[in-house]
């Protein structure tokens, strides 16, 4: 999911506060599909990604597009507004209680060499890897992907050589949202979720992205590994309710000492 945020921030320099909330919506969509239509989340994630892609493009076209040149503060406030709407929309639509998607694969476990792995986690991991790889290839090999990176480096320059920067932005935002949607659907059988969880998820992904370096895809992936290890260690040594403390403290430390991230190029 951090991959999605990296893409949005990297390409457009717009900070997406609504990130975690989008992920929560991805989870609820997977839940709806699973409970109403009986679609397994490992299949349904494609639909979730598609819906969130649409949502992302809409938000970009209708809202962000108008203020992409406005001061940073305005964008922050705008995305804060979007986050509020999404989070509380989920609260009104689905209620405050935690939910969990039941997948038949959840109970299954296999021996993978010497380690005992449950199938659900394994599939999630493999699919996440595959998505990251696909996105990486898309950005480095296709025309649209290259244009996206060009727009990220120098929006004006990209405009001069004839790239439709607005369209590129919309697609980037859409793909970013689609990534979170897919990620949300993929983890929905593993972790319970609730509307209020959006902020925690946003912070987690900021952590990951900032550690990995804004705008760097491999960085986001490595950052993801680092942060989840740190959080599980924290949960091990502190009480589980203090787990969040670790991620917020981590965030402060990162902000102060490595704002460009471990793998990022230069501070912006």
């Amino acid at each position: 999911m951090a991959v999605g945020l990296t893409l949005i921030f990297g390409v457009m320099r717009v900070v997406n506060f609504a990130h975690g909330d989008m992920m929560v919506w991805g989870m609820y969509l997977a839940w709806l599909l699973a409970t109403r239509a009986g679609v397994d989340p490992y299949v349904g994630f494609v639909a979730c990604a598609a819906v969130l892609f649409g949502l992302g493009v809409l938000i970009q076209r209708l809202l962000v597009d108008r203020i992409v040149d406005a001061p940073h503060e305005m964008q922050i406030l705008l995305m804060l507004g979007v986050a509020l709407v999404l989070e509380n929309g989920a609260l009104v639509a689905f209620g405050p209680d935690p939910q969990r998607v039941r997948s038949p694969l959840r109970a299954a476990t296999i021996w993978l060499g010497p380690v005992f792995v449950d199938v659900a986690r394994l599939i999630t991991f493999v699919l996440a890897m595959a998505l990251t790889l696909a996105l990486y290839l898309f950005l480095s090999r296709t025309d649209l992907g290259r244009t996206m990176r060009a727009a990220a480096d120098n929006a004006y320059g990209a405009l001069v050589i004839g790239a439709d920067v607005r369209r590129v932005y919309a697609v980037a935002f859409g793909i970013g949202a689609a990534c979170v949607g897919a990620a949300g659907a993929l983890v929905s059988p593993i972790v319970p979720f609730q509307p209020a969880g959006g902020l925690g998820l946003s912070v987690a992904s900021f952590n990951i992205v900032i550690i990995g370096g804004m705008g760097s895809l491999p960085g986001a992936f490595l950052g993801g590994l680092l942060v989840s290890v740190a959080e599980s260690l924290g949960a091990l040594f502190l009480s589980p309710s203090m787990k969040e403390l670790v991620s917020f403290s981590l965030l402060i430390l990162i902000l102060l000492f490595r704002p460009a991230g471990l793998f990022g190029k230069a501070a912006s």
Binding site: L80, N88, L91, V203, L251, P259
Partner: protein, 316 residues
């Protein structure tokens, strides 16, 4: 303009004589949030440093005075200042880290949110302050304990807080300090190049703002009589604080008050209207939509827009 303000103040002073108890409550919320908004306005509006974690200062102030009163018997009238001082100390830490390390815009927002959330989690997990159950203040109705039988006493205190904070902000705006803050917001580098110690003034703004907000915490505690970590340190309260000055006009003296007069009754109405049956998030949806609308159509807030209309009408 000045006479208009004096007249408005006179009306507000006389008003409780005619209002029923519920209307008084609504006005208390208007004044109180205008006060908090005004405190935020100094840092977020004038100096342009968006803090999205002001709830932390409310919480620190509230818990400090409530605990001092319950355990040490210290009257909240003094505890109020202690709470303010502690909040200011926290503000100093946040400000020092944020400004010394040059965190701007989005990074500063994240820093303030992170601090507020850490406060919330610590309060949730500290049993000495009530933990997740919250901290309750027993009602005695004793004015020396900042408790009043009559709602109208709170009305006047909240009004006083709002007027005091507005006076402070107005005084700062007219001084060199205020001009520096605006200059920092508009172009920090140019300001530094002219030899202004921007770090010092940003810190000063942060300290004054967090002190005032911490004082507000005492009012919060002794008006509601219960402190829940999730509500007193939570993001929703920070949003409540931020949204009024922004809607009303951040960086203007009257913006937070105007914003509070617009929003607090709306919030109250939607809470009543949507309050039942799982619609508890509805008023925050409305806030979100409003925030989006303001950013898109009225980026400077309502007060500057009204002022333009006023000037236009006067010219004709």
């Amino acid at each position: 303009m000045r006479w208009l303000l004096v007249a408005a103040l006179a009306v507000l002073l006389a008003l409780p004589a005619w209002l029923n108890s519920y209307a008084v409550t609504v006005f208390i919320f208007i004044f109180f949030y205008a006060f908090l908004g005004q405190a935020w306005n100094l840092v977020g509006g004038y100096a342009g440093q968006l803090s999205a974690g002001h709830a932390a200062f409310v919480g620190v102030g509230a818990y400090a005075s409530a605990l001092l009163s319950a355990q040490a018997g210290l009257t909240p009238w003094i505890g109020m200042l202690v709470g303010g001082a502690l909040a200011a100390a926290l503000g100093t830490v946040v400000g020092y880290l944020g400004f010394r390390f040059g965190l701007r815009g989005f990074y500063f927002v994240l820093l303030t949110v992170a601090f507020a959330e850490i406060c919330r989690i610590v309060a949730l997990n500290t049993d000495a302050v009530g933990g997740a159950l919250g901290f309750y203040i027993t009602f005695t109705g004793n004015p020396r304990q900042f408790q009043f039988q009559d709602n109208r006493a709170y009305y006047y205190i909240a009004l006083g807080l709002m007027v005091a904070a507005t006076g402070i902000v107005a005084a700062i705006e007219r001084r060199r300090f205020g001009a520096y803050l605006i200059a920092i917001r508009e172009d920090e580098q140019a300001c530094e190049a002219l030899g202004v110690n921007t770090f010092r003034y940003k810190m000063l703004a942060m300290v004054v703002s967090s002190f005032l907000t911490g004082v507000g915490g005492t009012f919060y505690a002794f008006y509601l009589f219960s402190l829940q970590p999730n509500s007193v340190f939570g993001i929703p309260l920070s949003v409540e604080i931020v949204i009024r000055p922004i809607v009303g006009g951040a960086g203007t003296v009257l913006g937070p008050i105007l914003g509070s007069f617009i929003l607090s009754p709306l919030a109250e109405a939607s809470r009543i209207y949507f309050g039942q049956g799982g619609w508890s998030g509805a008023h925050l949806i409305a806030y979100g939509l409003l925030l989006i609308a303001v950013v898109l159509f009225l980026p400077q807030g309502a007060y500057p827009a009204l002022r333009r209309l006023w000037v236009k009408a006067a010219v004709r």
